[in-house]
Symmetry: C2
Subunit: 210 residues, 2 copies
Amino acid sequence: MTSTDHPRRTRIQQEKRELILEAALEVFSTNGFRGSTIDQIAEAAGMSKPNLLYYFRRKEDIHETLMQRLLDTWLAPLRELDDIGDPLTELRSYIRRKLEMARDFPRESRLFANEILQGAPRIMPLLAGELKTLVDEKAAVIRGWMRAGKIARTDPWHLIFSIWATTQHYADFDVQVRAVLGPNRGGDGRFEDAARFLEQLFLDGLKPKT
Amino acid sequence: MTSTDHPRRTRIQQEKRELILEAALEVFSTNGFRGSTIDQIAEAAGMSKPNLLYYFRRKEDIHETLMQRLLDTWLAPLRELDDIGDPLTELRSYIRRKLEMARDFPRESRLFANEILQGAPRIMPLLAGELKTLVDEKAAVIRGWMRAGKIARTDPWHLIFSIWATTQHYADFDVQVRAVLGPNRGGDGRFEDAARFLEQLFLDGLKPKT
DNA sequence: CTAACGTTTGTCCAATCGGTCAAAAATTTG
DNA sequence: CAAATTTTTGACCGATTGGACAAACGTTAG
């Protein structure tokens, strides 16, 4: 075994497949699945359409591979949410990590958003399975913190939703955010502003009444 | 003049155009612009494709009409945000109104989200113009409340973003929300749960330190 | 009735779609 | 080197796309 991946592949196949997936991420994330064409992806990857189809038989195969890889990376921050540390610190760093992902991987966020928006036809089983299991597990952790009086009592699931929504907003709605903030405040500093705001919003809202 | 609209139109034209727009809202909001076909819209509207094209010359015309109408309705809650009442009450009812729109007009929300996700190619001028103006105006109102000590000091723009994000999340990511909450908690009551959670999150976070 | 007008449809078109295939080109292997 | 294998490409296919168009149909006014 030369690699960690399933099928036996040459070095060229590894590289070209990676090239295609990178191009497909760009195209799919801005046009959605049905709105993207193989030609677009092929051109973005710098190869001919039949050549691309030599590495991925069908358009759906590219999208599927992309989504599988995505979900792992995407849920990593939530997996790290741990029962060990201080609850407020844990939540604060979860929010920070999630916001950093929105900043550093906006295309992945938009790819995911596109899929969900259109009814998640290709990843629904993952949502109801793997994702629900993970969220339920972490919701139980958060509930434990509430029972221990470490954070204010509220709905853990909706708390997680609100963290997802507020952080991913800066990736998915980036165009709108920049348009509204204008050239000055919409520059590179907007993520630091967002981080400061979100920290205040969530922490002061979650702080137990003493 | 028989109507309030621009061009002179017969009664049948008014009705059929409305029928088409309703069908197009359904199709565009779930497939995006490029992912939707005229045939799909025509079938959903119960008419033939050439017949549909008799009322709207181009596919883009339907989308454009839809977006123009949408923006007014969509920004209505924010326009109502007023300097008159009690600041915390004003913000709380803004959040409630926005959440009600996510519940009652999810297709409109998804249509808008689709457009923004794909870089807002068709409504960018509106974002940088009308929308920015309105948000800046309301941000000034909120800033006034902060200066008066009525609510905690924070970034008004990002506060508005966070309200948009958290409320629209229940329309745009509805599939995911229901999948994660499961059959019991994901039923009709999920919006009331969300309303309770959001009220707690925002109000306790915005309450001035006394 | 008929003429005028508004509405609907069947047919057609060029462009584009996802995908195939055989052959050429490049690379690896002996 | 030559043979075997992998990679790349041009040409092509049927299906679907957005849209055009003239003919047919329905309705109403005189």
